[in-house]
């Protein structure tokens, strides 16, 4: 863990009492994941050490929350909501298009290691259905086939 990451985690730690470092575990794991793309065993151990937690308790958290990836997800993880509101607005068309175009199924990574497709539960933005996020951060709403193609082009 380099100084930059430590600083980011320290900022999160400030939100909680000094004897409750565990409170920052989700944030710390997210910071690690943003830096590395996914969480390896070593990353989890590092977080455990830094927050003074049993490793297994960190692993419990890392496996409970869906947005953590314990396997490589390529350069861009595309998480597409297929829940009811998106389903009603034909998210399946987008999904099929992406699967075909990228030649992968859900939870797979393209051969060039660039894209990974994830099926996601409701993202709390159903007014913009169908939608997807890139690497857990950037949301793209009101998708159609053209927009998806455009997006894939932009993601270098």
């Amino acid at each position: 863990m380099n100084l930059k990451l430590k600083k980011l985690i320290d900022k999160e730690l400030k939100k909680y009492p000094s004897d409750k470092k565990q409170s920052a575990v989700i944030a710390a794991l997210a910071i690690m994941q943003n830096d590395r793309g996914w969480l390896s065993k070593e990353d989890i151990s590092e977080v455990a050490l830094y927050l003074d937690m049993p490793e297994i308790a960190v692993l419990e958290v890392a496996t409970f929350y869906n947005m953590f990836d314990l396997k490589s997800v390529g350069k861009y993880k595309l998480s597409i909501c297929t829940n009811i509101s998106c389903m009603l607005r034909q998210a399946d068309h987008i999904v099929n298009h992406l699967k075909e175009k990228l030649q992968i199924d859900f939870n797979e990574v393209t051969k060039d290691g660039k894209f990974c497709l994830k099926e996601s539960e409701c993202m709390g933005a159903c007014g913009g259905a169908p939608l997807l996020t890139v690497n857990n951060q950037k949301m793209h709403e009101n998708l159609n086939i053209d927009k998806v193609d455009q997006l894939l082009k932009e993601l270098k």
Binding site: M67, I84, G124
Partner: protein, 437 residues
């Protein structure tokens, strides 16, 4: 009667309209900025309260008069809830804003954070003042990252302006507010799961009692409210409880945001005066899309029962109005389904959601949601028998009411209501492998 509703339809004895309270900055320029909020009188209420050292009880009474009910789904009267917080507790007390909306069809809190974060912050400061809490957290749904970032900025701006921190506006009152980011677990919307999550654990709901008001974050008294609930507070304090109440109907005071999604022309958030006829909201949302006919509506999110078009068409949108037709306001997450919707497929997706999102601690929920999903899946794949419908109903009933949190009940609700209203469609699917239409 299932026809697309005419926008201009006039309903007798009802003058309820769209009215922005929580979203009142949304039409202004640069809506989320502190400047914009202050330009419409923002932060004046907390200034007034602190300056005059207003008795918290007086403020609670005002909130009770307003008829404000929790907007997170359960609809518990907010004024009553706030009076549960122990007054003279020695030590830190916490208040939490629940912005973890993750129930399918819910997306209102996101817009409050985007367009009117300072009203939420002011609401929380007032809440902290009333309940004498020193620390607040806003727990924001994991999938909306940009809003988390923008809310952190809003907190920073409020702090710079002197509304957060120690000795706020020289009053001697201290309050710190922090944003917390979830990471993909619907269950963390449940208030005790959310508390566990803030403590850095798996988001598994706690058995209640003890309730958060006596044993919350780190075992300290904690109050949890929905984003919209807190965001309503400054307006209520500004205009008085009665004025808020007048915007709604008796027992359903004020305005409420309905997040309309699915098969409408203009999906989005509509803040309505409670009591508005369903027809009118549907019209506001542009009516059913593609000129199709309405089939069914889930008025308040999947944990509220689905209602067929013919029943909902004449209903009014308020706590009693929806209760009368066997459903409820929930979080106001209205999912509209047109005539082309396959109810088996819709139920299958919803069942999958609850199966996927069960935290897994209670036996009936952990095992039952998976079982339910698999049966619906079998129906969808044409591998079921008619007896499976009864099994489905029975299994769902045996989850409901027997778990730690209400996710178990929520998971049973779509199954029971879908089968109740659309049994023949399910039977048809079992017999012929497809829906009626």
């Amino acid at each position: 009667m299932n026809d697309v509703v005419d926008k201009n339809i006039q309903l007798e004895n009802n003058n309820k309209q769209l009215f922005n309270i929580c979203l009142r900055t949304s039409s202004l320029k640069n809506p989320g900025s502190i400047k914009t909020y202050q330009s419409i009188g923002g932060y004046e209420q907390i200034k007034r309260i602190l300056k005059n050292n207003i008795d918290p009880q007086q403020l609670i009474d005002e909130i009770k008069i307003s008829g404000l009910r929790g907007r997170g789904g359960a609809g518990f009267p907010t004024g009553v809830k706030w009076s549960f917080m122990p007054r003279d507790y020695d030590g830190t007390k916490y208040i939490v804003c629940n912005s973890d909306e993750g129930e399918p069809g819910t997306f209102k809190d996101r817009d409050i954070i985007r367009y009117n974060p300072h009203q939420l912050i002011e609401g929380m400061i007032i809440g902290a003042y009333i309940m004498n809490a020193q620390v607040g957290f806003n727990y924001i749904h994991g999938e909306i990252w940009e809003e988390y970032v923008s809310f952190e900025k809003a907190i920073e701006d409020a702090r710079k302006a002197g509304f957060l921190g120690n000795n706020i506006l020289g009053s001697g009152f201290d309050f710190e507010l922090h944003a917390v980011h979830g990471y993909g677990a619907y269950i963390c919307g449940e208030e005790t799961a959310l508390i566990e999550s803030i403590e850095g654990k798996k988001g598994q709901p706690r058995y209640k009692p003890p309730f958060p008001a006596t044993y919350g974050i780190y075992g300290k008294p904690t109050n949890v409210n929905n984003t919209e609930t807190y965001a309503s507070i400054p307006w209520i304090i500004e205009h008085g409880g009665q004025e808020f109440m007048n915007h709604g109907v008796p027992n359903s005071g004020g305005t409420k945001i309905f997040s309309v999604s699915g098969h409408v022309e203009k999906p989005g958030n509509y803040e309505i005066q409670l009591g508005m006829p369903f027809r009118q909201l549907l019209a506001e949302a542009g009516g059913v899309w593609k000129n199709r006919r309405l089939k069914a509506v889930i008025p308040g999110g999947p944990s509220t029962p689905v209602v067929p078009a013919n029943i909902i068409m004449d209903a009014t949108l308020d706590y009693d109005g929806l209760a009368q037709i066997g459903s409820s306001v929930g979080a106001g997450s209205m999912i509209v389904m047109d005539e082309s919707t396959c109810m088996v497929q819709a139920l299958r997706r919803l069942s999958y959601f609850f199966y996927e999102e069960s935290c897994g601690q209670c036996t009936p929920c952990r095992e039952g949601t998976g079982w339910v999903y698999r049966i619906v899946d079998r129906i969808f794949k044409g591998q079921a028998t008619l007896a499976d419908l009864d099994l489905l109903t029975d299994v769902s009933k045996k989850i409901s009411g027997r778990t730690i949190c209400a996710l178990g009940d929520a998971a049973a609700t779509p199954v029971l209501s879908f089968i109740k209203h659309f049994r023949s469609e399910f039977e048809n699917f079992i017999k012929h492998g497809k829906s009626l239409n």
